[in-house]
Amino acid sequence: MSVGLSHYLVLGALLFLIGLFGALTRRNIIGILMSIELMFNAANINLAAFNHYLHPGGVAGVTVALFVITVAAAEVVVGLALVLTIYRNSATTYMEDFHLLKG
């Protein structure tokens, strides 16, 4: 049984759903950041799979996936700097304790 495009799409959907569930249910903000990274990876798998099966010989999908990886790196750096600052001010990493903007 050969591996086709739909196998990769199912794998991407599974990773995306696991990441979505984690982002919705985790209490720790670092856990939420890790779940978001899983969702980025699911999107990258889909981009690479579409590039391989629907655009043979081209590299546009792989290039866009590289841009996604770069943006994800920038996002996680800024996000972790924010987490460090919040922890320094409020000594917690749990989402329900972040109510600074609540009136």
Partner: protein
């Protein structure tokens, strides 16, 4: 046949690592499982003959982002965290959202089930470089601006307040 075996092994590693990320109670173990899952995704890229993406995934994600997350977890962790519940009360609603999203994604996947076979394996690094310095030159420059802004933002947010 070998490609199918490689795909299934790498996909199993990626999915198992992802399940451990969202289910483990200890955040340090979650971060290590994230590294495992990202390495599995790199293997999936290798199955897709995306050689440059495979190397970039290993260098940036496994070697950079996962290590950075482990650093921050160890900076912020407290031993009392190990006794606290790590999921909130909304898991039923989250499961419902995931089920609906999964049903939609399944319909889309079925739409692509009759796609043609893949391209033969070929080196991709040179075409990517030509594309980035040719047609995609503007996004390439913009992404360097984004990286500069992220660098400055990280320094700005994490420096000590001088009062």
């Amino acid at each position: 046949m070998m490609e199918a075996i490689a795909f299934y092994v790498m996909a199993a590693v990626a999915v198992a690592g992802a399940l451990l990320v969202v289910s483990l109670r200890n955040t340090v173990h979650s971060a290590l499982a994230l590294g495992l899952s990202l390495a599995g995704v790199a293997g999936v890229f290798a199955c897709l003959s995306a050689d440059f993406l495979f190397a970039a995934q290993l260098l940036i994600y496994v070697g950079g982002i996962a290590v950075l997350i482990v650093f921050v977890v160890m900076l912020l962790g407290r031993t009392s965290d190990l006794h606290l519940r790590q999921v909130n009360e909304q898991w039923a609603a989250a499961a419902l959202v995931c089920a609906i999203t999964g049903a939609g994604l399944w319909r889309l996947t079925a739409f692509f089930s009759a796609a043609p076979g893949g391209a033969p394996h070929a080196a991709q690094t040179r075409p990517i470089g030509l594309l980035m310095l040719g047609e995609y030159a503007l996004p390439f420059e913009l992404i360097s601006l984004v990286l500069l802004a992220a660098l400055l933002g990280a320094i700005f947010f994490s420096k000590k307040e001088l009062s």
